[in-house]
C-alpha cells in the first residue's frame, strides 16, 4: 500500500516524501505542484494531455488547477518521490514579483545539477523529519530554479493566462461559490447548473473551458482540501471526517482520499506535521 515517509505543512504549502505503489487519479489543486523521482520504480505524471516520465533526468511541474494524474511505469513496484505543493501567494511574497502567476512555462523539468542539489537537500530535511529553519529557503530555491528553467526559451505567456482567470464568466464564478458553500452536501450537478443559470451541458462545457477542469474535479479538490485540514488540525476520527464530508462510509472516504492524495488518511495523519 502507498505510504509516506514524511509530510511537512507550512506557510509554503505542503512537502511530502511518498512511496507510491498505486496510481493517483486525475485531480487538481489550487497549489502549484512539483514532483521529483527520488528512488526505486520510475513513474509517469500526466499533466493535461502530456505524459512526463519522472526519473533521474526529469521531474514534473503542474500549475494551479491543472488536471494531472500519476502512474507507475512498467508494471508493479514502489516509487519514492518528492512531492511539493506550493502556495502561489507564498511564492509571490518571496519572489517579490508583481505578476501574480506561479505558472510554469513547461511541465517537464530537467534535473540539472542545481535542481538535483536542491531536491536532495529538501529530501534530506524531510528524511530527518525534524523542523528546520532551512526548509522554507530550500523549498523556495527549488521552486525558483524550476520556475526559471521552465520559462527559459519560452515566451512568458503565463501572466496573461493567469489574468484571464480573473475574467471567468460570472455564472461559473457563481457555481464556484455554491460549490464552496455546499461541497459537503450531496450536490446534484443538475441543480448546480440550474442555480448557476445554465443548462447542464452548457454548464459543463463552460466550466471546463474556463477552469480547465470539470465541476466534479473541483468538488473533489474542495473535499480533499477539507479532509487534509481536518486531519491536521482536529481530533476528529477518520470516520467522522468522512461522514462530515458526505461520504457514506469510512471505506469510501479512504478510497477517495488515497486515490486523490496518494496515501490513506490515517497514514497521512500519522506522518504529517506542521513546520
Amino acid at each position: 500500500m502507498s505510504g509516506a515517509v514524511s509530510v511537512h505543512h507550512g506557510a509554503f504549502g505542503r512537502a511530502a516524501l511518498y512511496q507510491l505503489d498505486k496510481p493517483i487519479i486525475t485531480h487538481a489543486h489550487r497549489e502549484a505542484h512539483l514532483i521529483f523521482y527520488i528512488d526505486s520504480h520510475k513513474a509517469n505524471v500526466n499533466v493535461c494531455d502530456e505524459a512526463i516520465a519522472i526519473n533521474e533526468n526529469y521531474g514534473a511541474a503542474v500549475n494551479p488547477w491543472q488536471p494531472h494524474s500519476f502512474e507507475l511505469s512498467n508494471g508493479p513496484g514502489v516509487c519514492m518521490c518528492l512531492v511539493l505543493y506550493i502556495k502561489p501567494i507564498w511564492f509571490l511574497e518571496n519572489s517579490q514579483s508583481v505578476e501574480h502567476a506561479l505558472s510554469f512555462g513547461t511541465a517537464k523539468i530537467e534535473m540539472t545539477k542545481r535542481v538535483r542539489e536542491w531536491v536532495f537537500r529538501l529530501t534530506s530535511l524531510l528524511l530527518d523529519d525534524e523542523n528546520s529553519e532551512l526548509f522554507d529557503g530550500f523549498l523556495y530555491e527549488t521552486t525558483r530554479q524550476c520556475f526559471e528553467q521552465s520559462w527559459r526559451g519560452n515566451k512568458q505567456v503565463g501572466f496573461m493566462a493567469n489574468a484571464r482567470m480573473h475574467y471567468v464568466d460570472f455564472r461559473v464564478r457563481r457555481s464556484l461559490r455554491l460549490m464552496k458553500e455546499r461541497f459537503t452536501d450531496d450536490l446534484e450537478m443538475d441543480w448546480l447548473a440550474r442555480a448557476s443559470g445554465l443548462s447542464r451541458p452548457h454548464f459543463f462545457k463552460l466550466f471546463k473551458k474556463q477552469m480547465g477542469i470539470t465541476p466534479n474535479l473541483f468538488l473533489n479538490t474542495l473535499r480533499a482540501e477539507q479532509a487534509i485540514e481536518d486531519l491536521m488540525v482536529t481530533n476528529k476520527s477518520v470516520t467522522d471526517i468522512g461522514y462530515d464530508l458526505g461520504f457514506s462510509s469510512q471505506a469510501s472516504f479512504t478510497r477517495f482520499f488515497a486515490s486523490n492524495v496518494g496515501i490513506p488518511p490515517s497514514e497521512y495523519r500519522r506522518v504529517a506535521h506542521i513546520v
Binding site: 502561489p88 501567494i89 509571490l92 501574480h100 480573473h166 475574467y167 464564478r173 461559490r177 474542495l222
Partner: protein
C-alpha cells in the same frame, strides 16, 4: 530628528485578490467576515472575485448602505450586524468612503455608546485603544488614501462633521490588485489619476523632512504622468493599469508626510456640498491653481519635480500638470459640479482650519482660499 513610521501589510500584484484574501483569512483563522461595500462593488464580477477569496466554510455578512461621508448612524448599524452575526473581521471593498466607514465602524464595534468622544477634536485618539476588530482594505480604482491612513472623516448623530485620527485605525492588511481596475470608466480612471498626481505633488511639496515619503512621491508622480494617458487610451492595458495603481498607492503612502492646500480645498468642498463630489475631480480643478499660488515658495522642489519628469524648468512642471489635467474627461470648473458662491465662502473657512493647511509649503489664509476657489468657479 523626525519620526518615520511605515505602515501596514500590503499585497500588490496582478490578480492577487483571491489568494491574498484567502491566505490572510486562513492564517488569522477568520471565518465570519463582514463585507462593507457599495452596491456597485457587491454585484457582478467584482463581488464574485471577492467572494472567491473567502476560505471554505466561511459565512459572510454584507453591508452596502455607504454614505458619502461615514456617519455614526451607519457605523452603529455595522456594529450591530457584527455582534449579532458573531463576525470576526471587517472587509472593506471599494472606494475611500467605504474604507473610511469601516474604520469608524471598528471603533463602534469596540466601544458602546456615542463615538463622538473618540474624535480627534475631543482628544479621543488615545481612547480608541487597540482592541479593535481586524480590518482588511481592498481598494479598487480609488480608496488608497483611506486604505493606508490613520484617519477617517465622520458625521456624528448630531450632524457635527469631524475627524477620527489614531494609528490603530490603519487597516491591518491592504490588498492592491490592478486587475480590479480594468473595467473602470474613463472618468473614474482620470479621477484616480488626478488624485494620485495630487497626492504625490502635495506630499512632496509639503513642509517637513521625510526622505522616504519624498522618494515615494517622486516615483509615484513619474509612474502616473507616464501612464495616465495610456490607461485612458486603452483601459485594458494591464501594464499601464498596474503602474497607475502603483502611483495611487505611492501617493497614499507619501501623504503620511502631510498634504497641502489642494487637499484642504477638496475636503472642505466635500463637507459643504449638497451633492456627492468626486475628490479626484476636485483635485483636478484645484491643483493647478494651488501650484501657481505656492510657486514662489517651492522653486527648488518644483525643479526637482521637473527633473523627475525630464522637463527643463520648474515653470514647465506647473504647465505640464495644467496640460495633463486639461485633457482629462473631468469638469474644469467648480460651478460644473453644482458648487455655488456661498458654499465657496463656507469652504474657505473650513479649509483654513484643515490640518493640511499647516503643512502647505506657503502660509495660506481664508482670503487666499477664497481667491483660489473663485478663480476656478
Amino acid at each position: 530628528m523626525t519620526l518615520i513610521t511605515y505602515l501596514t501589510r500590503i499585497h500588490f500584484a496582478d490578480g492577487v485578490l483571491e489568494d491574498a484574501l484567502w491566505s490572510e483569512l486562513e492564517s488569522g483563522k477568520k471565518r465570519r467576515p463582514l463585507i462593507i461595500a457599495d452596491n456597485e462593488h457587491m454585484h457582478g464580477d467584482l463581488a464574485e472575485r471577492l467572494l472567491a477569496g473567502l476560505p471554505i466554510k466561511s459565512r459572510a455578512e454584507t453591508y452596502c448602505d455607504i454614505p458619502p461621508i461615514p456617519t455614526e448612524h451607519c457605523a452603529r448599524q455595522i456594529a450591530d450586524i457584527y455582534h449579532e452575526s458573531a463576525c470576526d473581521v471587517l472587509l472593506a471593498f471599494g472606494t475611500s468612503r467605504t474604507i473610511d466607514l469601516a474604520k469608524v465602524a471598528r471603533v463602534a464595534i469596540a466601544h458602546s455608546g456615542s463615538i463622538g468622544r473618540f474624535t480627534h477634536k475631543r482628544g479621543g485618539s488615545s481612547r480608541i485603544g487597540n482592541a479593535l476588530p481586524d480590518l482588511f482594505a481592498i481598494p479598487s480604482i480609488s480608496g488608497f488614501g483611506a486604505a493606508v491612513s490613520a484617519h477617517a472623516p465622520l458625521v456624528l448623530k448630531n450632524g457635527e462633521r469631524t475627524l477620527m485620527m489614531c494609528k490603530n485605525l490603519i487597516p491591518a492588511v491592504t490588498i492592491c490588485d490592478p486587475l480590479l481596475t480594468v473595467n473602470a470608466t474613463a472618468e473614474q480612471s482620470a479621477s484616480a489619476g488626478a488624485d494620485a498626481i495630487t497626492h504625490c505633488v502635495e506630499a512632496f511639496l509639503s513642509k517637513g523632512y521625510h526622505p522616504p515619503a519624498d522618494g515615494i512621491a517622486l516615483d509615484g508622480l513619474k509612474r502616473a504622468m507616464e501612464n495616465l494617458q495610456p490607461v485612458l487610451d486603452n483601459g485594458s492595458n494591464i501594464h499601464a493599469r498596474r503602474e497607475m495603481m502603483a502611483a495611487s498607492l505611492n501617493g497614499a503612502l507619501a501623504l503620511q508626510k502631510g498634504l497641502g492646500a489642494c487637499y484642504a480645498i477638496s475636503n472642505a468642498l466635500e463637507l459643504v456640498s449638497d451633492c456627492e463630489l468626486d475628490q479626484g475631480g476636485l483635485n483636478r480643478i484645484a491643483l493647478p491653481r494651488v501650484l501657481r499660488f505656492n510657486e514662489d515658495a517651492v522653486q527648488e522642489k518644483l525643479q526637482a519635480l521637473a527633473r523627475t519628469l525630464k522637463m527643463r524648468k520648474q515653470r514647465n512642471f506647473v504647465e505640464g500638470v495644467e496640460r495633463c489635467f486639461d485633457d482629462l474627461p473631468l469638469p474644469k470648473l467648480l460651478s460644473e459640479l453644482g458648487i455655488g458662491p456661498s458654499q465657496i465662502n463656507e469652504a474657505a473657512v473650513i479649509a483654513s482650519s484643515d490640518l493640511a493647511t499647516d503643512t502647505n509649503p506657503k502660509n495660506i489664509d481664508t482670503e487666499d482660499y477664497l481667491s483660489i476657489m473663485r478663480s476656478v468657479h
